[in-house]
Point group: C2
Chain length 512, copies 2
């Protein structure tokens, strides 16, 4: 047999010959651990007698509420059904199925959507939706907002990436990003060829954020020739669950203006607030406009999404960003970039509208809407409290109070023997921990290394999203796995030392 | 009064300080002419006595069928209504409103969508949809297709951009792109920092495509240090409306393999075929697999969308790409890139599924589906014929037969005086022509300069989408404007010369 000519062909694209920036971008939330979880779930689904000691994988790796049995809000979906199939509005039974405000709202949306949801909208999004978003923001902040400053997007992520694409010109352009952070930031910065300039959040003091630390990081980047152009703040925090005070925000804005930085405020968890009295949500925009004289001209872009809050409409892909003080010509460039993708999907745009304009108190859908959204928020608050208490009470594990968002980000103290074993296998110790948790207990969480963390510490992100009737199981699965790990790898003396230190730190910072 | 400190603040982002690649990217289909059209329409809408000599702008600038009164297909939207609001399936009236196959299909989709359409799916898209797409492709081509080779996307554009992002590493990486072309290609190549390597389509012979011209262009790029890595083919053509033969496609594939290029086949108009007997649609994949021995290893990525065909579901944003011979590790990188945007919107994924799996002949929705889709296609074929004949019969205007897709791309012969006037205003002559057409007749079309064209020629792209009852008006608006332009700017002698040359070219190439 002789080799055929065809076999000599080498593909144009191999890992060695593609854009190296693509290789550099990482995204842990959908990385190795969730892939392993999917494999295991597939094996279980295949129906043969399973070798796994659990019936199904519980996914706590991603803020995907409806995957975990959270029901969509009735009002939203009723309106969507009519908007997607307008002929239904003319059906003789429609009045028996849909409340009058649902029908009126659907008709309003249809009337204001040229060509309906099957037609491309303007690149920046439907005008009436942008006006409604502007109204919502204006009322929330107490300062009027212009529809022109709003771009509708397919979730917050593409908006964040668009802004990065605009400000990153060269490999030495940097962006201050909190650590720990949501990996969209590190991944996208890598992909667009910019530099992440990390500032550390202080875990001991509830993941607080200090301008001194930002300044340290910025100066250190400068020494390496990095020109930092923007700062990302995630508030409420992901993965930390912390919520910033007004003074905090003002300090950051002052810092940004002093250092000539664009502020990117990721505020997608603004409705996920669990200790409203002590830690309400305050928007960056409000603090900026309250202090306009001092902060005049500072560029702020704020992001929001339909995927979080209590609606959790992740799969629909909708969101927006809003800009203050962004140059008019730059806005035109943003319109052009948006037009290259034609427009955000219209169903997402419609749900953005419903999010910012829920049923009014006088309308028939109000009561159900209040009940459904209230139940979800109360339950999330309850789960947040239970999960963080459980984690904080485990030996060699500590967890800050979850004030907001959808996650616990406990510190896990790993014994030297465990760390060594992980290192021998060439894997981050916390990834090794999470891998063992999925294989032994079927619980899928994300290692802290995927979010970046202070060197020598180990964490994991766990969503508070599994329904309450599964919560006991999750808590005991996690605790069992953790205790077995300690039993196998830690000496009683080591545990004792860690526990003493944990107690000491807690006492010191609670006193403060 | 003294200047306040705040006034000194210079924004971080100005046109001069943003990513220069963003500035370079252009997108004519939503550029200057449509913006002007929107302004004029707003003035008309504002209700004051209008200075414009028409009642509304007719948009023929973009393939957006539902904006121009094309109705969505009933079956698609019925299924979507139930999928978005599953409680409706349990309503006692549901059987009176929705045919049984619609209800069954919706239930099937709900059962196979973990968490419903409000949950993120896997980054590559829902598994059952990818399987259905694979089935459709396998049957279409007569060669089985694997679901693993399919990525669902939000329309074809983001898929095309993802592939560009992967193969462009540096400013000297090039991509062969037809001229004229759809401006997504030039715009995205500029944005990702690669080079467009243009090959010209031959207008006289019905926009035919020659490998010799591709080779000429490739070699010329090589001399300037450009490493061409990919070739884009748009078949059926946009903006040209031409459809490739099997021999044509085979020649291109052979050329690509010889020159070590990835083939990107933009096949979004595969259902828009108006002369099926002489010019059927043949997929690049089919020709590749038919000639596998010879073409072994050649990398092919094909794109499709729900926005075109007869459904025209532009606003929903759905599509897919399918790969042959793409390296396994590179596919993993594509999964990672997809995961950075989490997932394509689920409603778009659902409609992709309905597109590739329409009602079967035995099902109750079949008849209506056939009628609706057949009516649209017949009408499009009729409009294609009428528009190209009208344009070709105008003096100083010629138009090739529209075999497929949604556009006429006539050549417009502009008198020297007109060209001079445009140049004095610093504007492309065909853009000047389109601007005058919108201001005088309210007809919005896109200048050929937005699609790139052979130097010294002028064209415009006009969609065939306006409903038939508006078609007479469009035709007379265009003709009136064109003839007025000639009257104002051309001498009878010049017109005579052009007409003689037009006749000569036609005779020469019809004989062939």
């Amino acid at each position: 047999m002789c080799a055929t000519k065809a076999e000599e062909y080498k593909p144009v694209l191999t890992k060695e010959t593609i854009n190296p920036l693509v290789l550099e971008a990482k995204y842990a939330v959908r990385g190795r651990i969730p892939s392993r979880a999917d494999e295991i779930q597939s094996e279980i689904d295949s129906g043969e007698k399973s070798k796994w000691p659990f019936e199904k994988v519980i996914y706590c790796n991603i803020g995907n509420p409806q995957q975990l049995e959270q029901e969509p809000l009735t009002f939203y979906r009723q309106v969507c059904a009519l908007v997607v199939y307008p002929k239904l509005l003319k059906d003789p039974h429609v009045g028996e199925i849909f409340p009058v405000d649902v029908r009126e709202r659907a008709q309003y949306i249809i009337d204001h959507t040229p060509g309906g949801i099957g037609a491309y909208s303007k690149s920046q999004g439907l005008e009436f939706v942008r006006k409604d978003v502007a109204d919502f923001i204006g009322k929330r902040d107490g300062f009027p907002c212009s529809a022109r400053s709003i771009f509708l997007t397919q979730g917050a992520s593409p908006g964040i990436q668009t802004i990065m694409n605009v400000f990153i010109r060269k490999p030495t352009d940097g962006c201050l990003v909190p650590t720990p952070q949501y990996p969209l930031y590190s991944g996208s910065l890598a992909l667009y060829g910019g530099r992440r300039v990390p500032y550390f959040l202080d875990e001991k003091t509830g993941w607080s954020l200090s301008v001194a630390e930002m300044k340290r990081s910025l100066d250190s980047a400068k020494e390496f020739g990095i020109e930092t152009r923007a700062i990302v703040v995630i508030n409420p925090g992901n993965p930390t669950g912390a919520c910033l005070t007004e003074q905090n925000i003002l300090d950051i804005l002052r810092f940004a203006r002093r250092e000539h930085l664009i502020v990117m405020a990721d505020e997608v968890y603004q409705k996920n607030i669990y200790r409203k009295e002590e830690k309400p949500f305050i928007s960056f925009r409000q603090v900026l406009l309250k202090n306009e004289a001092e902060l005049k001209g500072l560029e702020l872009v704020s992001f929001n999404s339909i995927s979080k809050g209590f609606m959790g409409e992740c799969g629909i892909r909708g969101g927006y960003f809003q800009m203050e003080n962004v140059d008019e010509e730059v806005q035109q460039e943003l319109v052009k970039l948006a037009s290259l993708s034609l427009c955000p999907n219209l169903m997402g745009q419609v749900i953005v509208d419903l999010m910012v304009k829920p049923p009014a108190e006088s309308e028939p859908s109000y009561e159900l809407y209040q009940k459904e959204s209230g139940d979800i928020l109360r339950s999330l608050a309850n789960r947040a409290r239970r999960l963080s208490e459980m984690l904080d009470n485990l030996p060699c594990c500590s967890c800050q109070t979850i004030e907001s968002s959808l996650y616990a980000f406990p510190q896990i103290f790993l014994p030297p023997k465990f760390i060594e074993e992980a290192q021998q296998k060439g894997i981050d110790p916390d990834e090794y921990y999470c891998l063992s948790l999925i294989e032994k207990q079927g619980l899928c969480i994300v290692p802290g290394s995927g979010f970046e963390q202070e060197k020598g510490t180990h964490h994991a992100r766990i969503t508070i999203l599994p329904p309450e009737n599964q919560f006991d199981a999750i808590i005991s699965k996690f605790a069992l796995h953790h205790e077995q790990m300690l039993k196998e790898y830690a000496t009683p003396e080591w545990i004792d030392t860690i526990e003493k230190e944990k107690k000491r730190v807690k006492e010191e910072f609670t006193k403060k």
